[in-house]
Amino acid sequence: MATTDTKTKVGTGVGFVAILVWCLLPIAWIVSLSFKTVDETNAGSAQFLPKDASLDNYKALLGLTDDPVSDAAASDFGQALLNSLVVSLVATVLSVLFATLAAYAIARLEFRGKRLVLSLALAIAMFPVVSLVGPLFDMWRTFGLFNTWPGLIIPYMTFTLPLAIWTLSAFFREIPWEMEQAAQVDGATSWQAFRKVIVPLAAPGVFTAAILTFFFAWNEFVLAISLTSTQKARTVPAQMSYFVGPDPFNPPYGQLATASVIVTVPIIVIVLLFQRKIVAGLTSGAVKG
C-alpha cells in the first residue's frame, strides 16, 4: 500500500499549499504594498515585491516624520487604534463574563423558557445589523451615546453576547456533572464549585468564545462608521475609510495597506497567545473514558 500512502501524502501536500496560497497571498500582497513608496504605487507598479522598500508608510502612520500634517493624521490613527482596542476588549470581557454565567445556567439548570432564551439569542445574533443602524443613530443622539465608546460597546454586545453564550453552553454541557457534585461533597459551595472546578474546565471554551467575540468586535464596520462622527470614538475600520490622501483619484494604497498590517498585528498576537490555552481534551481523565 506504499503507493497509496505516497499518493495521499502528495495530494495532502498539494492541497495544503493551494489553500495556504489562496489564504495568505492577499496578506502577503498587503504587506508588500505597505513597504512601497507613494511614487511606486502612484505609478501603478504591478510587481509583487517593492522595488525600493522603505519604512516611510510606517513612519507616517506612527507619527515619526517631521511633517506636522502627516503627524496630525498619525495621531488620528493612533486614537482610532486605541478606540478599537478599548471597545473590542470591553465588549469581549463583558460578553464572556455574562455569557459564562448564562451558559452555565442554560447547561445545568432546568427552567421554563430555556429553549426560548437560546433561540432568542440566536435570532438576535442573526439579525441584520444594517437594519438597526437608523433607529440606533436616532436613539444614541437622544441618549447622548452617539460618538462615545459605550455607544459602540452596547450594540456590539448584542451580537457578541449570543455568540459567546452559544459557544460556552456547548462547552459546559460537555463537563460531567459529577465534577460539580464531587466538589460539593468535598465541601464547596455552589459558587466555589463553579469557580474552582467548572470554570477551569471550561477555560478552553472561554478562550474560544473570547477570541471569536474579539474578532467580531474588532472587524465591525457598519456600526462603527454610522455611530461615530469624530476621532473621539471612531474605530480603525471606520478610520481607514477616511484615508483619502491629497488626490481623490489616487488613494494612498501604501498607507492603507500599512494600516491594515498594523490592525492585523494585535489579532495575530491574541490568537497566538490564546492558542496555547485552547488545549483540546482538557477534561480527559476526569471520568473513566
Binding site: Q181, T189, A203
Partner: protein
C-alpha cells in the same frame, strides 16, 4: 465519626414514582454497610440522599444525632467516591487529594502532611505531580479514595467504585478497600450490584428491590437464611435452585422424586399445598463421593450438561415446572436482571466426580439446608428468624406492586 440512621426514607420523583420507599437502615458507627440490589432498585438514590445530592421526600436522615435532611452536601461532612471517580482533570494528583482541605482553608503545612500521609497509604507517592488524565484506572480509583480519606469525614460513601475496573484489579481494590476501612474504622456505606463485593466487604448487607428494603443482615445470614425468594435468588453464584415442591409429612416431592426433610422444617409448612423449594447448588453432590448419606436423601436423574472446572463441576439437570410456579420463577428471573430460557437445576459436584454428560446419575441432596418458599408471597417459610437479621415482612409482595424503574 458517626453512625447513619435512615428512618422511613422515601424518595418520590416529580411523576410520583417512588424510587426509594419507606427504607429504614441503621448504620452503626464504624460499620461497613452494603446496599445491594439489581439495577433500578434505588440503592444509588439512597446513597445520594445520604450525601445530600438528592432531596429526601419524607423520612429522617440522621448522621450522629443530627437530622441532616435540609443540610447541603458540604455541611454533612461525608466523603464520597463516585463511580466514575470524578477527579478534577485540571489539578495534579496532589491538588486533587488536597482539594477538600484547601476548601476548608487548612494551612499549607497541614495540607502537605495529610496529603503525603494519604498518598503513602494508597501508594500514590510517585504520581503526585501527574494529572489524572495520565493515570490508569486503578490509580484514578486510588486518587478518588485519597480525596476521601484525607479529610476527617464522618463516613465514607462509595457508589459502585469498582465497576469500571477490570476483573483482576477489582479483586485487588476490593481487598484494599476492606483493609483501609478496617484500619480507619470509619462508618462506610457502599453501593454495589455485585454480590461478591457485597458478601466479602460488608459487615451487614441491605438487599433492595424496586426501592423497598428486603432484608438487612450479615452476609452469612443472608446466604443461609434468605428472607424471601428474591434475596435467596440474588445472593449466591451460581444462584439458588428453585423447584416446585409439595410436602406431606416429612417427605417433599420434587420433580426428581421424593426426599426427606427434618421434622422441624416440615412442621412449618404443613398443609400449604404447592411450594417452591430452594436448594443451593453446593448442597447437592454426586452420591458416589458422599461418605455419610444419612444427612440427606438421594435421587436418580438424567444429567444434561456438565461443566468441569477442576476443583468442582456444575451439572445441569432440566425439569418441568407447573405453570403457577413457572410464572413466579420467571418474574423472579426478570427482577434479578436475568433471562433463563429453561427451568433447570444447577448442581455443584466435587471435582473428582466422574459423572459426564448424558449420564443417568445418582445425586445426593442435603435436605437440612433446603428452604421452602410460599409461591404467592415469595416468603421463606422455613427461615430461622434468629439468624436472619431483619427481614422486612411482605417486602417482596410490596415490591412486586411497584412499577419497574426505567433503566
Amino acid at each position: 465519626m458517626a453512625g447513619i440512621d435512615m428512618r422511613n426514607i422515601v424518595k418520590k420523583y416529580g411523576d410520583g414514582f417512588p424510587a426509594v420507599n419507606d427504607v429504614s437502615i441503621d448504620v452503626q458507627d464504624g460499620e461497613f454497610m452494603i446496599l445491594v440490589g439489581p439495577s433500578g432498585c434505588g440503592k444509588s438514590t439512597l446513597l445520594r440522599m445520604i450525601v445530600g445530592l438528592e432531596d429526601i421526600t419524607s423520612g429522617d436522615m440522621m448522621i450522629g444525632d443530627k437530622r441532616v435532611n435540609d443540610l447541603a452536601p458540604r455541611d454533612r461532612n461525608l466523603a464520597m467516591v463516585f463511580q466514575n471517580y470524578a477527579l478534577y482533570p485540571h489539578l495534579s494528583v496532589y491538588e486533587n487529594i488536597a482539594f477538600p482541605l484547601r476548601l476548608a482553608k487548612a494551612p499549607d503545612a497541614e495540607v502537605d502532611e495529610k496529603v503525603r500521609a494519604a498518598s503513602k497509604t494508597l501508594e500514590l507517592d510517585e504520581h503526585l505531580d501527574r494529572k489524572p488524565g495520565n493515570l490508569s484506572g486503578g490509580q484514578r480509583q486510588r486518587v478518588a479514595m485519597g480525596r476521601a480519606i484525607v479529610r476527617d469525614a464522618d463516613a465514607f460513601l462509595f457508589d459502585e467504585p469498582l465497576s469500571n475496573l477490570d476483573a483482576k484489579l477489582r479483586g485487588q481494590m476490593r481487598s484494599e478497600i476492606a483493609r483501609l476501612q478496617k484500619r480507619l474504622g470509619i462508618t462506610t456505606v457502599y453501593v454495589t450490584h455485585d454480590q461478591t463485593e457485597a458478601m466479602t466487604l460488608g459487615d451487614r448487607v441491605a438487599v433492595l428491590k424496586r426501592g423497598i428494603l428486603q432484608q438487612l443482615a450479615t452476609p452469612r445470614e443472608l446466604y443461609e437464611n434468605p428472607g424471601n425468594l428474591f434475596v435467596a435468588g440474588f445472593i449466591g453464584s451460581p444462584p439458588m435452585n428453585f423447584l416446585p415442591a409439595t410436602v406431606e409429612g416429612t417427605s417433599v416431592t420434587l420433580p426428581f422424586g421424593a426426599v426427606e426433610i427434618p421434622a422441624d422444617k416440615a412442621e412449618k409448612v404443613q398443609g400449604r399445598g404447592l411450594l417452591i423449594a430452594g436448594i443451593r447448588p453446593e448442597h447437592f453432590e454426586d452420591a458416589s463421593v458422599v461418605d455419610d448419606k444419612s444427612a440427606g436423601s438421594t435421587f436418580r436423574t438424567h444429567v444434561d450438561v456438565v461443566e468441569w472446572l477442576g476443583n468442582e463441576a456444575y451439572a445441569y439437570i432440566p425439569f418441568e415446572a407447573p405453570p403457577e410456579v413457572q410464572t413466579q420463577l420467571q418474574e423472579l428471573e426478570r427482577d434479578l436482571d436475568g433471562e433463563s430460557l429453561r427451568t433447570q437445576l444447577v448442581v455443584s459436584l466435587d471435582g473428582t466426580s466422574t459423572i459426564s454428560e448424558g449420564d443417568e446419575a445418582e445425586i445426593w441432596v442435603n435436605t437440612a439446608k433446603m428452604h421452602l418458599f410460599d409461591p404467592a408471597t415469595g416468603e421463606n417459610l422455613t427461615v430461622d428468624r434468629d439468624r436472619a437479621g431483619r427481614i422486612v415482612g411482605d417486602a417482596m409482595a410490596e415490591a412486586a406492586e411497584q412499577p419497574v424503574a426505567a433503566g
